[in-house]
Amino acid sequence: MRAALFLIALAALALAPIAAPWLQFVLTLALAKGFAALGVAVLLRGGLISIGHAMFYAVSAYAIAFLARAGLNEFVVLLLLGTLASALAGLLIGAFLVRYRAIFFAMLNLAMSMVLYALLSKLYGITGGTDGLRLAVPRFFGLALDKASFDTALYYAGLVLMLGVGYGVQRYLASPLGHALAAVHTNELRLEYLGVPVRFVLLIAYTISAALAGVGGAIAAMAISHILPEFAFWTASGHLVLVAVLGGIGGVAGPFIGSLFLEVLHTLAVGVTDAWNLIIGVALIGVIFFLPSGLYGLIRRRSGEPA
């Protein structure tokens, strides 16, 4: 049942841009935000909420813009180096932040992201300030494509990445290290008394979550081709938390489901009314009240598994 649902969803995602070409850009952005929300969900497993994770989304996007300007304009190289830049930023910032818990962790993430936002906005000579940076269409495995073809290739590459990275994250969460992360949430003291360095467990999770946000930032940067400081703004971070909670953190698919649902709902709501925030708000209240395990929890219940 679960496998059948998965295959149907995957086929729908693969065919959607063919049936409705306007959906391709929406879905590409949804995938990008899904990766970043998955990063947030990884931290939520450990009981840590980050309201600043969009900073890693932005780090990757700006890294790509700088690298492209330096002449490195190949999709795979940009994706890898953008992700690496976010992971390194996550490692550095995480080394400081994993000492904190609860509201202090959340607020320090927020503070860090707003420092980055301010720097990106003010350092005009380097970052282009509020005008941002343009990104030329990268080559795709050596092929020089026009923008429309590249966007299509990017979307399908994003789908393949979702499967590959999602599988990797699932393996990590099912490993002793992933279980130790969940154990931090329930009983940090016991974990310490088992000889496990809790901060190191969290630092690994933080670095992975930053890398995931980096994958998302790289895809978004290449899809939009225009990188702005708003990538790091606190509302973008709040959006990622929202997506993770909406989709559910019980499985790797949750944040992607949440992101796809929210992006499509947003696009449809904007077409119907100016008060699209109202529609999204009502939908969210419904999910939070009636689906505490998120949309993924609902799917799991329907397929006979515990939510």
């Binding site: 099912a174 992933g178 279980h179 130790a180 949430h185 016991r190 974990l191 310490e192 088992l194 000889g195």
Partner: protein, 248 residues
């Protein structure tokens, strides 16, 4: 004379002017079952906290195999062979009994295997053997949070044993356990400790349990050792009977 497994030398610590350890000297030798008894608030749990790095003494030293461990973190001390079970069981309540054990087994073997399943590489088998050892195998798939108190205690203890420690510190293993379950739990526990050849130090309020299972008893009062010796001698001491047994 061989070096004691654990040795406390002149340990002192106070909280808001109250001496919880006032020059404590204590040794435990390999293979011993040592019981600590004393009234509530006399500093017994504080002593366990000092031995496991949770608290640092204002003066004095703790030695393991003759080497100081006083300034070490709990995780470092755990890796050197001292495990601990708590008065209030410290479990991963949202995870199954088996997962709790597998995490402990993984902690002993090394958790840095990012892409191997928790139950792989023999971790599940070892965890299941440990659960069977204490009769928890029937509850392996239950959430730890759903276990009754006595079973939680047992799980907490077997988690400590999963580390294959040389010394296990047990803080009131029978508290919160019904009188009927108490001796069953202790029999199971002692059999497991003997089989694993683990030295044990346990804080206990039940004098019947102490008399039956301890090789040696240390009597605590106001942060210092009032008396020590085999149970048969200690429980004849008038001061112990008057100040501790009557009130503990």
């Amino acid at each position: 004379m061989t070096t004691p497994l654990l040795q406390a030398k002149d340990l002192r610590i106070s909280f808001y002017g109250v001496q919880a350890a006032d020059g404590v000297n204590l040794e435990i030798r390999e293979g011993e079952f040592l019981a600590i008894i004393g009234p509530n608030g006399s500093g017994k749990t504080t002593f366990l906290n000092l031995c496991t790095g949770y608290l640092r003494p204002s003066s004095g030293e703790v030695y393991l195999d003759g080497k100081p461990i006083t300034a070490m973190a709990p995780r470092t001390i755990a890796r050197r062979g001292i495990a601990r079970a708590f008065q209030i069981p410290q479990l991963f309540l949202d995870q199954t009994v088996l997962d709790n054990l597998m995490i402990a087994v993984a902690a002993k073997r090394g958790i840095w295997v990012p892409f191997r399943a928790l139950g792989a590489d023999g971790r599940r088998r070892e965890a299941e053997e440990l659960l069977a050892l204490v009769g928890l195998d029937g509850e392996a798939q239950q959430l730890a949070g759903a276990l009754p108190e006595g079973r939680r205690k047992l799980l907490d203890i077997v988690i400590a044993l999963a580390l294959k420690p040389r010394l296990v510190l047990l803080d009131e293993p029978t508290s919160g356990v019904s009188t009927i379950e108490r001796f069953t739990l202790m029999e199971t526990l002692m059999a497991a400790l003997r089989r694993a050849k683990v030295t044990a130090l346990f804080v206990e309020h039940d004098m019947d349990v102490v008399q039956r299972y301890a090789d040696r008893v240390v009597v605590w009062d106001s942060g210092s050792v009032m008396a020590e010796g085999p149970p048969s001698e200690v429980f004849k001491d008038e001061r112990v009977l008057r100040n501790v047994v009557g009130v503990a």
